[in-house]
Amino acid sequence: MKFLRDIVDKFKPTFSEGGKLSFLHSTFDALETFLFVPNHTTHSGGHIRDGIDLKRTMFIVVIALLPALMFGMWNLGYQFHRATGMEVSLFENFWYGMIQTLPIIIVSYGVGLGIEMAFAQFKGHPVNEGFLVTGLLIPMVMPADVPLWMVGLATAFAVVIGKEVFGGTGMNLLNPALTARMFLYIGYTPEMSGDKCWVPIADGVATMDGYSGATTLGNVGVASSNGTPWSDSLLSWGTSISDSIMGTIPGSIAETSVIAILLGAVILIVTGVGSWKIMLSTIIGALFMGGVLNLAGGNAWYDMPAWYHLVIGGFMFGTVFMTTDPVSAAQTERGKWIYGFFIGLLTVLIRVYNPGYPEGIMMAILLMNVFAPLIDYRVIQSNIKKRLNRVKA
């Protein structure tokens, strides 16, 4: 530690005001505060400073993401070896998935941090830590077979159009990770959906009989348009409900395992970083809408028990890590309930009514991101009204 401190101190004057490289000071700051606790002190007034700053908050989220990511890597290897009919050890599965996933993570961080630093330099702001989580979330919601240049393009789009134009970290209207995914989903639909993109299998590699690679969402969608019952669609290759809960199903890299994601949810809730109100209300919203559709009945989508919506597709991942994004979510306590409830409701609605877009949670969250400020405004206004009435009475 002393050694590092000495190095940092040695170079500090070069980057401080008047130094030779002072124009790079925000990059230097970012590095220094990454290595050491920031020594900024408030200049006036009696402020109580909490030990938890943006960097630590972001770090907790990264820790919460790790179980899902680790499981996702293992699952990728598991899916591949199962499809090609090979029996391999746990470690080999994990290794295979890691080799597939790491380049995506590196590209996401490289492009995103590069752009963030360039903007910070240009505007003379300090570099923000906001991208630490976004940069990991982007690869986690990608299909494993996505070309790397697409990841780079989507990251650049999300950081510049989704975040920097609004003023950078903390000012963005939309969740940047979902903006990146949405950009690819609309722009390159064939590479982002269907049954080929989830598990990378090279051309010519033989797969087992019965292997399809389709997700549960895809299967139920097919069943509903064919008029077959929903239960049949879950019997096909590796998409039973217990598989869905465990996570041994095809899907975006880290979205599959409900258990690993709930582990992350516990970390977020215990540390108070993620709002349990939003998570709970999202689940309530999905169950409510699913229940209403169950009563209506009709095709496979309507008949599927409401709680299945919670474990298939990206619902859990979105609920735990995307809806709780403190920037783009509703801020007021009552607003959080409304915000989450409508995300859940819209997710099920989009899944069932729009066969073109099987993954409803992505769109539901982005849509409610846009409405979050309005929700907050109404909540605050109604509170003011209530209190005014109390004064009058």
Partner: protein, 219 residues
């Protein structure tokens, strides 16, 4: 911004040069510092709807140019005889006549393009730029000035939508004017740029660049 009336100097001077400095600015201002789309943010609806390919966009640009210029001249010529209380309806009648002319001409001579542009030619009637120029300029200025003003504003509108269409057709299909310019062998067409949402974002980026350059800040 859009309600300026050029004060006439005819009292002092008998004749003003056909292309005096002030008259040149009638054409050049709307190209940049007083652009109907990027500064006044008018006519957005058609800028998003018709910009998927350059060819249709170009036709749309000419159609708007014709309507704005002619309407400006006609209303400017009639301006002293139009009763103030019914001026909007008079303007609408003139604009609707011109738009119907354009629409029918396109149907007669460029049927395919007319079909591709569908209702948006007819919707030039509701393009805010047309009514905006009539209200803000033609009602208070002479026909020649109004013609120049109409020309400038429609050109300002045209270059923005052509720029948007250029980006959208190039990235969305790898084509320009229908010709494949980006080889399909290495270029994957980005479907996002084929959606009107992309036009909204490209327009935003154009506004961003122009305002960063000019330092214009919204009040």
């Amino acid at each position: 911004m859009s309600t300026e009336v050029i004060e006439k100097v005819e009292v002092k001077k008998e004749t003003e040069a056909l292309f005096s400095k002030k008259r040149k600015s009638l054409v050049s201002n709307p190209m940049d510092s007083d652009n109907p789309i990027t500064i006044q943010v008018l006519g957005i609806c058609s800028a998003l709807a018709v910009t998927i390919a350059l060819q249709g966009t170009l036709i749309m640009a000419f159609a708007v140019m014709f309507v704005v210029m002619m309407a400006n001249v006609v209303i400017s010529a009639l301006r002293n005889t139009i009763p103030n209380r019914i001026r909007i309806i008079v303007q609408l009648v003139v604009v609707a006549t011109l738009v119907a002319t354009v629409d029918q001409t396109l149907r007669a001579f460029a049927y395919e393009q007319s079909k591709a542009l569908s209702v948006f030619v007819g919707l030039i009637i509701t393009n805010c730029i047309v009514m905006g120029r009539l209200e803000a300029f033609a009602m208070g200025n002479k026909p020649w000035d109004s013609l120049l003003d109409g020309f400038g504003n429609s050109l300002g509108y045209a270059w923005i939508i052509i720029a948007i269409a250029f980006v959208r057709e190039l990235l969305g299909a790898g084509k320009l004017f229908g010709f494949q310019v980006l080889d399909k062998a290495w270029y994957t067409a980005n479907g996002f740029f084929a959606t009107p949402a992309a036009a909204c974002i490209i327009l935003g980026v154009i506004i961003w660049i122009l305002r960063a350059r000019s330092g214009y800040v919204e009040d």
